[in-house]
Symmetry: C2
Amino acid sequence: MMEKEEIALAFRQVQQHICLELERMDGNGRFQSDAWDRTEGGGGLTRTIKDGQVLQKGGVAFSEVFGPVSDVMRKQLGLNGDSFFATGVSIVLHPNNPHVPIIHMNVRYFQLDTGEYWFGGGIDLTPHYIHKTAASMFHSRLKSICDSFDPEFYMRFKPWADEYFYIPHRNETRGIGGIFFDHLNHAESISKEQLFQFCYELAYQFPEIYAEQVAMFKDKSYTEKELHWQHLRRGRYVEFNLVYDRGTKFGLLSGGRTESILMSLPASAQWEYMAEVLPDSPEQQTLDLLKKGVDWV
Amino acid sequence: MMEKEEIALAFRQVQQHICLELERMDGNGRFQSDAWDRTEGGGGLTRTIKDGQVLQKGGVAFSEVFGPVSDVMRKQLGLNGDSFFATGVSIVLHPNNPHVPIIHMNVRYFQLDTGEYWFGGGIDLTPHYIHKTAASMFHSRLKSICDSFDPEFYMRFKPWADEYFYIPHRNETRGIGGIFFDHLNHAESISKEQLFQFCYELAYQFPEIYAEQVAMFKDKSYTEKELHWQHLRRGRYVEFNLVYDRGTKFGLLSGGRTESILMSLPASAQWEYMAEVLPDSPEQQTLDLLKKGVDWV
């Protein structure tokens, strides 16, 4: 049986791998490190990058926290145990170029003193301009990782992402989705070790998956108008994260480390009342694709 | 007994007064009008301004909505009746100049078919740079309106604003506060007519209160650094509105008109991981004053 310490150690190592690979991809930006402690137990290492060649602002955060189950956790997460252990890696990257997509990834492991445990996570892509071939490549990558563990994972986790990364008040998905999963435990067809491996693979392959997207668009020139559109889309990203994202909300309400939680926000975002989009424009074509249930593969 | 239609009509008229006065103050910007209908009953008139001389982005919204009490309203607002009526005026104004404060005002009336009714509202100021004399002038204005209705209003509603306009995850108030009140009804020492008059006075005097603040700072020159600070403070404003503001959250969750609800967001905002503020700087002096319980008068 896999121990929680092994999982946390592997997550810590994969964070390092991801940062090194992302620095290589960026060519210029360097990750800063901020180690922090949590009063009630545990802590983390938040790594952030800014003003890189490709990446304008981003973070790759590792945390390993434990202690008594608080009232907020009991209420908001519906936990019954007395004490918990949680470890995970979270990433959000905002690029400079509006043709390069925003990306998010998270893998996490949770365990209670009752013996219950589960894995959760996800990865989703938010292009400011949707490019169908690139979207298909992204989803194919995810499907292939899923398929190597369980032939049903992709068809379960892809719609789950469509539901999760959805902005009801805008009636649009955050981007082209990806996969999302939670509460994977002994009820799955694969072992705890394999569930861990699945999360680990997602995290390990993350830099390659994103580098593929970046390579396609990073040298594409852009206009002021495209930059403005990028900022409006970032506004929607902010809306999703602050209004709906469960991790963000739970983190803020439960007294998590604010700067680590909000590292997901862009360097800048814009809002416009009743922003107009021209019919048949690339902007409108993107909006038309921000729907649940699109078969990207 | 004052009828709901009278209240709605007066709110509609005060919206017009406010927009005219704000246009006069701005000297350049003009309010656009967007009338909208609500499927379940009622509608509103959203008036927005952008790229004015003083005001970069803002809105003055009127609404008068009614219909059956929905499940979300029952749950989130704890309402028991079968049908409701609500009318109000809401304002948020974001200026160009970082020395000019952001301002918010809201007055509202709510009534149920059970016979229950109440007034709510508030006004608060969010200077990017706190200026003690200006803050004192603002609070004195509010106190004087409060005092002309009930000698206890200001001492009740000022701490209520401190509690309401507070960002727990930042451990700071949104700005210098003001007044906030809710559920004012027959239990108050003054009549329903007078409660209405109190709300009306706040709304009617709003342009004058803000014009006084604007006049003090609108011609003050500013640097790139001050502009950046303004954008970081706007980021906090976004955080407050999307994470905590009850009106925003309820509006978005209950299927309100998104563009009218989110007219409160700035044209642009910025975020920086662990933004640093120099000791003894005007920025740090402002942060030091973002506390509950400051006696501004």
